[in-house]
Structures are given as structure tokens and as C-alpha cells.
């Protein structure tokens, strides 16, 4: 068997996944913290203040990566949920459900930091603008998925129901993305492009790309840690969990 295919099959084994997550989550966190330390330092102290917005523009270094993560995590969650629904892979159910609180956390950061930036720049904490409203609906979807998953006792049935909600919710992602194009919006349009020409000055971009990378690495660490916790909860009572909890109890 192809080694990569074999590795995927092995990863489906709960004890193997537990060992994998316990090993790689700290690595992802350490890398995330290192990259984030550079990104935050450069964002706060290295890049010059914006000529119009002053230092308040520095909020974008956490707002934009979090906003991108809030949508990316939702898309990934729906992808895992679709795999779990079609092929009934338990690990994909676990990963999909582990995505929800992380995505919700990034959405909260997006809304809160956007609101804090909006007060001095727009003169208001909140506006029922298409971009803000659709992002708020995204948060409600995340909360709905978390609530649904925890409301049903059978973990597999719960994951299937919540996964279905995640798949349906994907329809919101293009609406969020293009809300500033389709409607008159207070929120500015796209100023940053990863592959094309950005409207921001080049000197302001490196910390942003660092923060984008750092949030991705953070997500990997958090996903592995949360999936490990859910895996342990589902496997409670199995011998390998007892051995892991108290090696001497198994002897």
C-alpha cells in the first residue's frame, strides 16, 4: 500500500490519532507563537502609521487575518463534514466539530476588532452594513453548530446533524466575500491581495503575511488539541484511554 494512503488509514485509528495530535499540536503552537511574535512586533512598532487613519490602522493586522480565518475555518469544517457524511469517517466528524469553536473564536475577534476600529474611523461601534451583518450571521451559524453538536447525546448523530448545518452554511461564504461588491457598503472593498497587486504600501505587508501564517499555524495547533479532547471523550472507557490516563491501572 502507498505509504501516504497507509498513513491516512492509520490516522483513522483513535489511539494513533491521539499520539499524533499530542505530538504535533505543541509544535504548531510554538511555530505560531514565534511567527506571531514577529508579526505583532512589526505591526505595532516597525511599520509606519497610516497617513489618514494614524495608528488605528494597526488593528487590521489582527482583524484581517482573523476575518480570513473565520471564513477559511468554516469552509474546512464543511469539507470535513461532507467527507464524514459521505464516507462515515469518524475522524472527519471529530475534525469538523473541532473546527467550530476555533472558527467562532476568530469570528468574535473579527467582529470585536472591527467594531473597535469602527468607533474612531466611522464614528460608530456598529452598523447594519452587509459585510458586518453577514459576518455576524456567520458567528450565529458557528454557535448553532456548536449548540446542535452538544444538544444531541449520540455523538455520531450529533456530528451528522451539525455537519449538515455546516454544509448548508457554506452558501454564506461567497455572500460575505462579495458583500462589499454587491451592495453599497460602509466597509471598504478589497485592499489586500495575496497573489495580485495590493493597494497597501509594500512596507506594510510583511507583518500582515506573518500574521496570516501565524493564525493558520495556531489553527492547526488548536484543531489538533480540540480534536484530541473530543476523541478522548468519544473513546472514554476504552482500554487505550485508561492506559493513557493511568498506566499503572492497566497492569
Amino acid at each position: 500500500m502507498n505509504p501516504i494512503v497507509r498513513w491516512f488509514h492509520q490516522l483513522g485509528s483513535p489511539p494513533y490519532f491521539d499520539r499524533f495530535a499530542a505530538r504535533w499540536a505543541p509544535v504548531a503552537y510554538v511555530l505560531a507563537i514565534l511567527v506571531m511574535a514577529y508579526g505583532l512586533w512589526a505591526a505595532l512598532f516597525q511599520v509606519p502609521a497610516d497617513y489618514q487613519q494614524g495608528d488605528s490602522f494597526r488593528i487590521l493586522y489582527i482583524h484581517v487575518p482573523s476575518a480570513w480565518m473565520s471564513m477559511f475555518v468554516f469552509g474546512l469544517m464543511a469539507f470535513y463534514a461532507a467527507i464524514a457524511l459521505v464516507w462515515r469517517i469518524k475522524l472527519c466528524e471529530i475534525l469538523a466539530m473541532a473546527c467550530a469553536p476555533i472558527g467562532a473564536a476568530f469570528t468574535v475577534i473579527t467582529l470585536a476588532t472591527g467594531s473597535i476600529w469602527g468607533k474612531p474611523m466611522w464614528g460608530t461601534w456598529w452598523d447594519w452594513d452587509p459585510r458586518l451583518t453577514t459576518e455576524l450571521i456567520l458567528l450565529f451559524l458557528y454557535l448553532g453548530i456548536i449548540g446542535l453538536y452538544n444538544a444531541i447525546e449520540d455523538r455520531r448523530a450529533a456530528a451528522r446533524a451539525a455537519g449538515l448545518l455546516a454544509i448548508v452554511g457554506v452558501a454564506l461564504l461567497p455572500v460575505i466575500r462579495y458583500s462589499v461588491v454587491w451592495w453599497n457598503s460602509l466597509h471598504q472593498g478589497q485592499t489586500i491581495s495575496v497573489f495580485g497587486q495590493s493597494q497597501m504600501d509594500a512596507s506594510m505587508l510583511p507583518p500582515l503575511f506573518a500574521m496570516i501564517a501565524a493564525t493558520k499555524l495556531w489553527f492547526i495547533g488548536s484543531l489538533l488539541a480540540r480534536a484530541r479532547a473530543d476523541n478522548l471523550r468519544r473513546e472514554a472507557g476504552k482500554d487505550w484511554v485508561l492506559r493513557l490516563a493511568k498506566p499503572e491501572a492497566a497492569r
Binding site: 488593528i59 473564536a105 470585536a112 488548536s222 478522548l232 472514554a236 490516563a245 491501572a249
Partner: protein, 63 residues
């Protein structure tokens, strides 16, 4: 720094939410492992208890 309080508030929210995201799964893992430890201890004590009962009943049967 202009708008300093807004910048501090935004970065504070970012730090607090990520801190929660870091701590929450750790607490859950520790809780699950503690529950497993207690389950193992109960299983061990139940096994010892049933072994004693069997010995007593066996003794009664033999008497």
C-alpha cells in the same frame, strides 16, 4: 501613538480570545483523562471486591 486605547483594546481582545482557545482544550483533555483515571480506579476496586465475594461463596459451598 494615536488612538492608543483603541489599539490596546483590539489587541487585548485578540490575546484574550486566543488564550481561551489555548486553555479550553487543555482543560477538556485533563478532565477526560481524570475521568478515565477514576473509571480505572473503580474498575480495579470492583474487580478486587468481586474476587473476595467469590472466595467467600466458594468457601460456603465447600463447607
Amino acid at each position: 501613538m494615536s488612538y492608543q486605547s483603541y489599539v490596546i483594546a483590539a489587541y487585548g481582545v485578540f490575546a484574550v480570545v486566543l488564550l481561551w482557545d489555548f486553555v479550553a482544550p487543555r482543560i477538556e483533555i485533563a478532565r477526560q483523562l481524570r475521568a478515565a483515571r477514576l473509571r480505572a480506579a473503580r474498575r480495579t476496586s470492583r474487580a478486587a471486591e468481586s474476587e473476595l465475594t467469590r472466595t467467600d461463596s466458594e468457601r460456603q459451598v465447600s463447607e
